[in-house]
């Protein structure tokens, strides 16, 4: 037997609401510690290199996702890159329209096989294109706290 009787009136369709406060710590790890310290202290980007695959990882990591080697070689990389792809996002996290749409891009960092997801700034959405050269704009040293948001955004070079 399946459902013999059903709720026939909307005012009988009761709901209960619930929420849970979730708070977590996220250990950034050996590579994350160095990556964010270089951003905070020096405004520089460092990655790790896999000598077997000749890949430079940004963000840096301790292992190669291709060959599974343990990575020990750190390399400083430029704070410039190219827009690999981008979007103009019109909604905030609640699904409401943003007063000012944001340009979010994946920036392939020069000299690496990785990159960073970040905002683009100091540019109109219509001017952005795949392949555009951009550079990281860091917050003032006093404002940095060792976070990806220590980079304000990437802006067109020149």
């Amino acid at each position: 037997m399946s459902l013999l009787e059903r709720i026939a009136h909307p005012n009988q369709a009761k709901v209960w609401y619930g929420e849970i406060p979730i708070q977590s710590r996220y250990t950034v790890g050996i590579t994350g510690e160095r990556f964010f310290r270089e951003i905070k202290d020096n405004g520089r980007l460092w990655g790790t290199r896999c000598p077997h695959c000749d890949l430079v990882y940004i963000p840096p990591r301790l292992y190669c996702e291709r060959c599974f080697a343990h990575l020990e070689e750190w390399v400083e990389v430029p704070t410039t890159g190219r827009v690999h792809t981008f979007t103009v996002v019109h909604l905030d996290l609640d699904g409401n329209p943003l007063p000012e749409p944001r340009i979010i891009a994946f920036i392939q960092i020069d000299g690496t096989d990785g990159g960073l997801i970040h905002d683009l700034g100091e540019v109109d959405p219509e001017e952005v294109c795949i392949g555009m050269c951009v550079e990281a704009v860091f917050k003032d040293p006093a404002e940095r706290r060792g976070s990806i948001t220590d980079i304000r955004y990437f802006r067109p070079v020149g």
């Binding site: 963000p59 792809t85 997801i117």
Partner: protein
């Protein structure tokens, strides 16, 4: 495969944009009763094991796997809940049968999306907490970026994405289970509100509530239960890297690898010639095109033109999503893949009614787990 495996029963509850009258447990129960009637079995007597697919944050309940047995008739039995898409659950059921320890296994997945009040926040919480999440952008931005790269790499026109929406929502008009059937134009799709450029609102599948239950059996049990089993010829699944910074933005590698695994098991060399139709993930319209190419039904860059020419319509050369897909039926969260499988079963049984594909003998269902994942699963079924 080591043993033959078949689907011998299918049941559903839904699918509607809201379901204020039924709890998720009651939807599961309704789907289960239908599936057991369809298979002619008693779950308390006949079923060896139960597999369910669910994700805690979507359910609003932690350790959700504890909540699945009762309404399926699965208490005091082996139960196995996984995260993933429903087709991953089907793969788990197939593996259990292949061990020889289980002959009859039930698979369930569902969506109570209308009870999820903070959906974008849940997706955002799935992003890397250190490198991505502090940027606090709507996670559909990932789809917008992927779509732009896919269109650029394959020279696919925007109109082709819009045609996917027009086709799937029109197909859904003929599907009584579909929540979002509609007659709309390419212009309306492209002119709808911008979500994450070039992705517009009508190119994103709206959600639906519902549940799907399948009864899966080994060959001997299947033949004893029914004279029309739906055979599982091949099944495969794969993940690409989850890292946004090292994934390929233009292509769906996970779909390619999942399909290759399924084709290997099924002995399929030429998918387009050997498979009659497909139900494949269309969470976002461009995904249907990208997945068609990755699954090997056409070459990169061809899916858009094929769609514009009408090749993937119900009466076309290779019908894609005759059910209406997620765009037409409603996206069922982790249940989406089983909704695709359910349609393949209807088609192969000749029970699809006004959206029946002619001469349907072999069909594929393919699921993607949505942003921000790179997780896919494919299954090939035949009658």
């Amino acid at each position: 495969m080591l043993r033959e495996v078949a689907i011998v029963g299918a049941g559903w509850s839904g699918f509607r944009s809201i379901s204020p009258d039924l709890s998720y447990k009651e939807m599961m129960y309704e789907a289960a009763v239908r599936a057991y009637e369809d298979a002619g079995i008693d779950p308390r007597r006949d079923v060896d094991s139960f597999v369910t697919v669910a994700e805690d944050f979507m359910e609003g309940t932690s350790i959700f796997d504890e909540y699945t047995p009762d309404q399926l008739g699965g208490a005091l039995r082996p139960n196995h809940t996984i995260t993933g898409d429903g087709i991953h659950g089907l793969a788990a059921a197939v593996m259990q049968i292949l061990t020889g320890q289980f002959d009859l296994v039930v698979v369930e997945a569902h969506s109570k999306a209308s009870n999820v009040l903070t959906f974008p926040h849940i997706l955002a919480y799935a992003m890397d907490p250190v490198y991505n999440r502090p940027l606090a952008f709507h996670p559909y931005a990932i789809a917008g970026m992927e779509m732009r790269r896919y269109l650029a790499e394959t020279a696919t026109p925007l109109e082709a994405c819009a045609r996917v929406v027009v086709k799937n929502r029109a197909n859904a008009l003929f599907n009584p289970l579909a929540a979002h059937g509609a007659n709309i134009s390419v212009e309306a799709v492209l002119g709808s509100d911008m979500v994450a450029e070039p992705l517009t609102r009508l190119q994103c599948a709206d959600h639906a509530d519902g549940a799907i239950v399948l009864v899966v059996a080994d060959g001997a049990t299947a033949r004893a239960l029914t004279d029309r089993p739906i055979w599982i010829r091949g099944i495969g699944w794969a993940n690409d890297t989850h890292t946004l910074e090292s994934r390929p933005w233009g292509e769906a590698s996970y779909a390619y690898l999942a399909a290759q695994m399924a084709y290997r098991t099924a002995g399929i060399k030429s998918p387009r010639a050997e498979i009659d139709f497909a139900e494949i993930d269309d969470t976002f319209a461009y995904k249907e095109l990208q997945h068609l190419e990755a699954l090997g039904f056409c070459r990169p860059g061809e899916a858009g033109l094929w769609t514009l020419e009408g090749g993937t319509e119900i009466n076309g050369e290779f019908p894609v999503n005759p059910s209406g897909g997620s765009l037409g039926m409603g996206h069922l969260l982790d249940g989406s893949g089983l909704a695709r499988v359910l349609e393949v079963i209807f088609q192969l049984r000749g029970e699809a009614g006004r959206h029946q594909v002619k001469d349907a003998e072999v069909g594929m269902a393919f699921a993607w787990r949505g942003v921000p994942t790179t997780s896919g699963a494919a299954v090939i079924l035949s009658n």
